[in-house]
Symmetry: C2
Subunit: 203 residues, 2 copies
């Protein structure tokens, strides 16, 4: 029995979609990729809402058939049974802790300045809203720096989907006006992730 | 060998902490609970930052010793090996999908109006910021309603931590000015959750 191909729907520049392609690169898993355009309104169609009712990318067509949304849930699905997802109870929970940290403390503050300053160009680096995001985002980066002063990867002694999830928006932080100079351990971790076999760049 | 007791640090009114106590009620698991006060500055101390560097409750002291943050990661840790966490790959990923939906689309928009309108009293129900949260929150509630028209629980045919995570802020939505009348399937699901053995109210 052959499984249907894993199909990923994303947009070209999304860091959340990059996470999935990055993990597949490290794992040597082949994806069919289809990139939609937010500007063209591709996510705001009846057809796409049947795939994801809350209208966001990335989404993955699973081996079982149904579409799966939420980048971190997709990472979990693809990493099960591989070295990128530990099996012990505490280590799994710590991976999840960083996945939720990424979505609620990190990504939201790092992605928005990049979107409005770099990609759309409708805000400047010193707009009050951008400065507010950067204050919270720098708090998240400082937490990561403190953790990476103690260990090379976020959970245990080898890369997991916690690292994969945190990589894209950290790597692109400077596009939103962040300065990574104060975070030397974070910068070494970024280099470590880029040196892993199978690394896939955004473009 | 006896395990050290599971210890939960929360605040009295937090819905994120309620999730953990609710699951423990359903599972019949005993927790030591210690409630801190945001107003008294308990979360902004050196001692608490050693427990959670990003300064949020709830946190759980695990059986293995380390403290675990992020309510959804705590739910996962406690539910492993129980009926509240399915084991199949797709079902687990779907549970995670709803856990991330709860944190990024649902909780953020339902908790804020409750906090500023009901608990702090510094905003009114028709303030522009509250109306903006409510527009997004109603989108999340409509997604849940559509899903619950098809099935009794969020994943599979029995309650999981996806239901436990989504329950508290949905149950308290009216405190933030939400009207649940347009969501009959959602209201029946709330009643179903309250009727389960071991149900624990907020206070």
């Amino acid at each position: 029995m052959t499984h249907p191909a894993l199909e990923l729907i994303d947009t070209i520049y999304t860091g959340n979609g990059w996470k999935v392609r990055l993990l597949c690169g490290y794992l040597g898993v082949t994806l069919q990729r289809r990139s939609l355009s937010i500007v063209e309104g591709d996510l705001d169609t009846e057809a796409f809402r049947r795939i994801n009712p809350w209208g966001q990318v990335p989404v993955l067509r699973t081996r079982e058939g149904p579409w799966l949304a939420e980048s971190a849930a997709i990472l979990w699905y693809l990493a099960r049974g591989t070295d990128f997802l530990p099996t012990a109870a505490l280590a799994q929970a710590q991976v999840l802790q960083w996945l939720f940290f990424e979505q609620t403390q990190h990504m939201v503050n790092l992605a928005q300045p990049r979107l409005w300053v770099e990609l759309r160009g409708t805000m400047k680096r010193d707009d009050p809203a951008v400065l507010a995001w950067r204050e919270l985002g720098d708090k998240a980066l400082a937490c990561m720096e403190a953790h990476l002063q103690l260990q090379h990867y976020f959970v245990g002694d080898r890369p997991s989907i916690a690292d994969v999830a945190l990589f894209p928006y950290t790597c692109m932080a400077e596009q939103g006006g962040y300065d990574l100079q104060p975070y030397p351990s974070l910068r070494r971790w970024l280099e470590r992730m880029q040196a892993l076999e199978g690394y896939v760049p955004l473009l």
